[in-house]
């Protein structure tokens, strides 16, 4: 009985980068990257540290602007003067949770909804749904972030990203800093949340197991650009039996692929 994600007409191209280059000072971090993301699919970006994964993610919601090329969201080029409105359709969660230390867990989750003009009952209904999805005890809502465990903080961060029922979800290594058991739990919760509320997901990770488990497609990046993009089934077939950790190296080394 859940509402369909309200911002997503079908047959929309959620996210496309066309010939995007980005530099910081004199160093080009991304060079001529063109890539498109399929609607309601989960795509992981993997690659060595410093290959531009996070930069690419920040280009997707306008935190960075491309020096060359263009980024299109929901079938049209980003209007950088209307970012706040646009970002209400995009969820964002980061490593180390990025929770506001001066706000309680409840306020962290609901602040965007309040600013977007949602009324109290609507916010509370959505909050209850989210607590169910991420298995968070409502007794924790009045705590400040520093009074929560790492896993609890991450659930709050994920709930905050999902609050406005985004049609695009950008995740920047959100599960990197939590213990393996809790990580597995949250993986399951994310998957079940996406079954109920489909969204296009871009996940930056350096954990290949996580990428294989959560994604439909995996994008391998090397210095400055996209090396290759594979459906997960194809990868599993091609590299069956290989340790996931080694798969990245194999793919990047194999230039014929």
């Amino acid at each position: 009985m859940r509402e369909q994600s309200e911002n997503t007409p079908l047959d929309e191209e959620p996210l496309r980068l066309a010939g995007v280059s980005k530099r910081f000072a004199d160093a080009w971090v991304l060079k001529d990257v063109s890539i498109s993301f399929a609607q309601n699919a989960t795509t992981s970006l993997v690659g060595e540290s410093g290959c531009g994964k996070s930069t690419l993610l920040k280009l997707c919601n306008g935190l960075h602007r491309p020096d060359r090329g263009s980024v299109s969201l929901f079938s049209s080029p980003i209007d950088y003067d209307a970012l706040p409105k646009l970002r209400q359709r995009i969820g964002y969660a980061v490593q180390g949770n990025g929770l506001f230390p001066h706000l309680t867990a409840r306020d962290n989750i609901t602040i965007a909804a309040g600013l977007a003009g949602w009324d109290g009952p609507k916010i509370n209904t959505r909050l209850d749904e989210l607590l169910q999805l991420v298995q968070l005890d409502s007794a924790l809502l009045d705590r400040y972030p520093h009074e929560l465990s790492g896993g609890q903080q991450q659930r709050v961060g994920l709930s905050r990203a999902l609050m406005l029922r985004p049609s695009l979800l950008l995740l920047d290594e959100p599960f990197a800093a939590i213990d393996p058991l809790t990580r597995l739990e949250i993986h399951e919760q994310l998957l079940s949340a996406l079954r109920l509320e489909p969204a296009t997901v871009v996940l930056v990770t350096h954990d290949m197991r996580e990428a294989l488990k959560l994604s439909d497609e995996i994008v391998f990046m090397n210095e400055g650009g996209v090396h290759a993009k594979y459906p997960v089934e194809q990868l599993l077939a091609q590299f069956s039996g290989q340790e996931p950790e080694l798969m990245v190296r194999s793919v990047l080394a194999d230039s014929s692929l």
């Binding site: 935190l63 995009i90 964002y92 001066h102 965007a112 600013l115």
Partner: protein
């Protein structure tokens, strides 16, 4: 923008009555007494008088007279020639011409020449055989402390030192403190006036200016050209009435007998038949009067500080917030606020007089300028110190720039910003003691008067409440911060 802010203050503090005559004086005892003599003489012929006594130095008094904030104050010919007009010598007529061009006139000489002289303890003079300034050349070990004015004016220490080839180094020190330092043996020489009442009290002798560096410092009331004829007539009998001996006596009565300049002036005028006998004014005495006076000074002090820091917040907070995102502008405004901080307080006060006159407005303007730096610096630092990840998240949640500032950046920077305002307030409470130099009152009035009259009790009447105010301000701000910032975000002490 500044002008707009001060417009509000102008209306709030109001102007003094148009028909009263404003009598000023500088901060030292003799100037105080002469100011009182003029004021009481004018009152004795039925004129209404407003007193602005104890202003800080020639610069402030002269500037205030020029812009019409004062109608007259006691001045010395040598000071006008050397310090104001920066000439070496001027005839009486040439001096009057120069003054007239400024809309001022020097009334008749009062009858004494209060020149500068170097004073040394008489014991020392005897043991080292010191009679003239030239004798000092052979004693390079002597430690001198001079008033800041004497240290800096062209006809003071620099001229004395080069004319006589003196080998000694000197430090700057307040006049009354110099006498105390001589008494305790920390100093062996200071600049003195030839009419100083303290000379006898501290057993000091004056060294003869054998090469005649110092010009004549004939005392007279310097007034505006538009001083009413009735006032000029009233002051006329004072001409030639006060010679060096008389002035020394009057000075000693204040400096060493602990009498107030007002009392001494009244006794002098009565004795010369220049004031009607009247009942010893109904001035309340005792504890309640003291408390009332301390309370009055404290309230004035609070008002000055509060107005200045509030204005500082009104200007500096929005400005720093608006400019904090632009590094170049942020450093420009910090540079400006820092520059203001380097202007000495007295100079800043003197600069403000042409704009805001004598009194609270000038004091508030100067304190306001001093309050800018801590507020600007802490606001910019507080906002810049917010975790960039949190700024990214705030933007990513769809917040507008304004919402990011109000909902995330300001709350996180709040402890730092509050600390800046607290620093501004505490500094302001200290600096506001200088407000008395421009006639703005406050706790500086008993402190500065107490210093110039060597009256410890008077100094404490100002110093204790000022210290209490500073402590209360600290306390109030820590309570305020407790109310506004969750415990885990407060700075740990």
């Amino acid at each position: 923008m500044l002008c707009g802010l001060f417009g509000v203050l102008l209306a709030a503090t109001g102007a003094h009555g148009a028909e009263s005559i404003v009598v000023g004086s500088k901060i030292f005892v003799e100037s105080h007494i002469l100011g009182e003599i003029a004021a009481q003489r004018l009152e004795s012929v039925g004129l209404k008088v407003e007193r602005k006594l104890g202003l800080g130095g020639t610069l402030i008094s002269y500037e205030a007279l020029k812009v019409g904030e004062l109608d007259l104050y006691p001045e010395y010919t040598g000071t006008l020639i050397r310090a104001v007009f920066e000439e070496t010598d001027l005839s009486q007529q040439a001096l009057q011409d120069k003054l007239q061009a400024e809309g001022l006139v020097l009334q008749e000489n009062l009858g004494f020449n209060n020149s500068y002289a170097i004073a040394v303890p008489s014991v020392l003079a005897k043991s080292r055989g010191l009679n003239t300034v030239s004798d000092l050349i052979a004693h390079p070990d002597l430690r001198f402390g001079f008033t800041h004015e004497f240290m800096n004016r062209a006809d003071g220490w620099p001229a004395l030192r080069s004319l006589y080839n003196l080998p000694q180094e000197a430090v700057g020190i307040e006049h009354a403190l110099a006498y105390r330092a001589m008494a305790s043996g920390d100093l062996e020489g200071t600049d003195a006036y030839t009419t100083d009442g303290e000379l006898e009290l501290y057993d000091l002798v004056l060294l003869q200016d054998d090469r005649e560096l110092f010009p004549r410092y004939d005392a007279a009331f310097l007034s505006r050209l538009d001083l009413p004829p009735t006032a000029i007539d009233a002051l006329e009998p004072l001409a030639g009435l006060i010679n060096e001996q008389v002035m020394q006596t009057l000075n000693r009565k204040v400096a060493s007998e602990g009498r107030s300049p007002a009392e001494v002036a009244r006794a002098f005028l009565l004795e010369r038949g220049l004031a009607p006998k009247q009942e010893e004014g109904g001035a309340a005495s005792g504890m309640s009067a003291l408390l009332a006076e301390v309370g009055h000074h404290t309230l004035t002090h609070l008002r000055l500080t509060f107005a200045a820091v509030s204005l500082g917040c009104v200007l500096a907070l929005p400005l720093s917030m608006a400019l904090s995102r632009n590094e170049r502008w942020a450093s420009a405004i910090q540079y400006f606020a820092g520059l203001v901080q380097t202007v000495p307080a007295l100079a800043l006060l003197a600069l403000m007089i042409p704009l805001f006159g004598l009194g609270e407005r000038t004091a508030i303007a100067a304190l306001f300028l001093y309050s800018l730096l801590p507020i600007v610096r802490n606001t910019i630092a507080g906002l810049a110190g917010v975790d960039p990840i949190l700024k990214d998240v705030a933007a990513s949640l769809g917040m507008t720039t304004r919402q990011q500032l109000l909902k995330v950046e300001l709350p996180l920077a709040l402890p730092t910003i509050m600390a800046g305002i607290k620093t501004a307030a505490v500094i302001s409470i200290g600096t506001a003691t200088l407000a008395a130099f421009v006639g703005a009152g406050g706790l500086g009035e008993p402190i500065l008067t107490g210093i110039s009259l060597s009256d410890n009790q008077l100094i404490l009447q100002g110093a204790i409440p000022a210290a209490v105010l500073a402590l209360l301000t600290e306390f109030a701000f820590s309570r305020l911060t407790q109310g506004m910032v969750p415990a885990h975000l407060r700075p740990r002490r």
